[in-house]
Amino acid sequence: MNLARRTLIGIPYLWLLLLFLVPFGIIFKISLSDYAVSIPPYTPTLDLSEGWQGIRDFFGALDWENYVFLTEDDLYWRAYLSSLKIAAISTFLTLCVGYPIAYGMAKSAPEWRPMLMMLVILPFWTSFLIRVYAWIGILSTEGYLNQFLLWVGIISDPLQIMNTPTAVYIGIVYTYLPFMILPIYATLERMDESLLEAAEDLGCSRLSAFWIVTFPLSRSGIIAGSFLVFIPALGEFVIPSLLGGSSTLMIGKVLWEEFFSNRDWPVASAVAIILLLILVIPIILFQKNQEKNQEADT
């Protein structure tokens, strides 16, 4: 192995080791430490000047206390469960909104498609924060939606949507919609039209041809899109804190507050480790789905 190849592999490898893997070791270590009123606010810290005894003391002081604490306080249980619920419901809603759009795009005239693709991708490039912010003005009690509904006369009292889970669902569907549309569109666009014609020739109605032929064939796109929405939605912080108010409990927000408001770093680290363990399952499933698609392509 020559030197050039070693440096080429070595530089990105070392970078990721130092700034990605080592920090996880540190999170794990701090999740086993105790809270302390000091800087940094946890104990023990490794003191190498005391030699071997220092290292022994250091490992002796680590324990699973914070994890036990997480299981005892039902705030954390509720936060994990409610994050899972919110992520699952909003993934389903995103699918319901995104599928017809992807379908419409795939069935549109080919010369329109690049333009439609650009229109879907454009919001993805614009600031996430601004797209969430745009909904505050729409959903608030004296916001544009309530003004409009009152003016039309559908409602007589303003709706309370801001600071409820509904606002969080809307926020997630809105910001993650491109992630759902693009993979579904990719599978639908590749689909062989003659299959549909065959189904219709054999006496299927257009609707049942859709359920028997199109929908199953777009399954891999649906699965990919759902994971692309579900995984980031689970750890979401910005949307619940701007639209959800204090009534919406999500684990990303709990972690943030544990860290910035309570300054309890060991508990925040334990919260992070458990969130990671929960995420491992959907991530592995997603990876499996992607591998299967790649095999199907070749």
Binding site: I101, Y144, L279
Partner: protein, 273 residues
């Protein structure tokens, strides 16, 4: 023959209305003269003036641009190297770990990435500021760059590289004069992606920024928490305008390149006759 379908037309209209109406409202109300954001009181560019007189916003914008420029450049170099290693590197020790470390940050919740980097910086005693934000942004965006570049590396014909090597190029020369021009569009796209990700990031920047450095998203977030404000509307409009110009230009350029390529191919086919 394609039939015009009312269902598809409705789905597309409603879908794009949902995607774009919130942003259009934001832009319209940035020209509202009233401080009460939800009540229209006449056209005015007052809030744009306010925004440009607000030193805190200008400072934050300057920090954000510097961070985004430096981190996306580092990320592009490191990400391209990582992609090259993954696609052309062959077998080496710890390859599985390497590919895991490239893909994991893409799905990692930002709160965890931010927390872990902050704890690292504190335990090695690095003062939080612009440098730590740059390190953090480089780390997660290099993974995005590497994914974009490696998809391009996989798809092009390897024999041109081999031809260059057979004709006496050193591997480095072959990379510089053959591979790099071929993957250039993906490298540029990767840089742009890294740049936007950095401009946009709130969570990781909040963890890794110290009191000395505030980025634009951190500033926006702290003022948005207090409610809707007309200055933020004006700022959003400017950002939306810049992104729209960027995306439209990029798609026009790539469209022109495709047309040019087709024309070249046609000419090449006609040449022998």
């Amino acid at each position: 023959m394609r039939r015009f379908s009312w269902f598809n037309a409705t789905a597309l209209t409603m879908g794009f209305a949902f995607l774009y109406i919130p942003m259009v409202i934001l832009v319209i109300y940035s020209f509202n003269s009233s401080r009460l954001v939800t009540v229209w009181a006449g056209f005015s560019t007052h809030w744009y003036g306010e925004l440009f007189r607000d030193q805190a916003f200008l400072d934050a914008a300057w920090v954000t641009l510097r961070v985004a420029f430096v981190s996306s450049t580092f990320a592009t170099v490191l990400g391209t190297m990582a992609a090259y290693v993954m696609v052309r590197g062959g077998k080496f020790m710890g390859r599985t770990l390497f590919s895991g470390m490239i893909y994991a940050p893409l799905v990692m919740p930002e709160v965890i990435t931010g927390l872990s980097l902050l704890l690292l910086f504190i335990s090695i005693g690095l003062d939080r500021g612009i440098v730590t934000i740059i390190l953090a942004h480089t780390t997660f965006s290099m993974c995005y760059v590497s994914v974009v570049v490696s998809s391009r590396l996989v798809s092009f014909d390897r024999s041109v590289e081999e031809a260059a090597l057979d004709l006496g190029c050193t591997p480095f020369d072959a990379f510089k004069s053959v591979t790099l021009p071929l993957i250039a569009p993906a490298v540029i796209a990767g840089w742009l992606l890294a740049f936007t990700l950095s401009l946009d990031d709130l969570v990781i920047a909040s963890f890794t920024a110290g009191p000395s450095a505030t980025t634009l998203p951190i500033k926006i977030f702290s003022s948005v928490r207090l409610g809707v404000s007309p200055e933020i509307n004006a700022l959003s409009t400017i950002l939306l305008l810049l992104v729209t110009i960027g995306v439209v230009t990029a798609s026009l350029v790539s469209k022109r390149r495709i047309i040019q390529q087709k024309r070249d191919e046609q000419l090449a086919e006609q040449a022998p006759q």
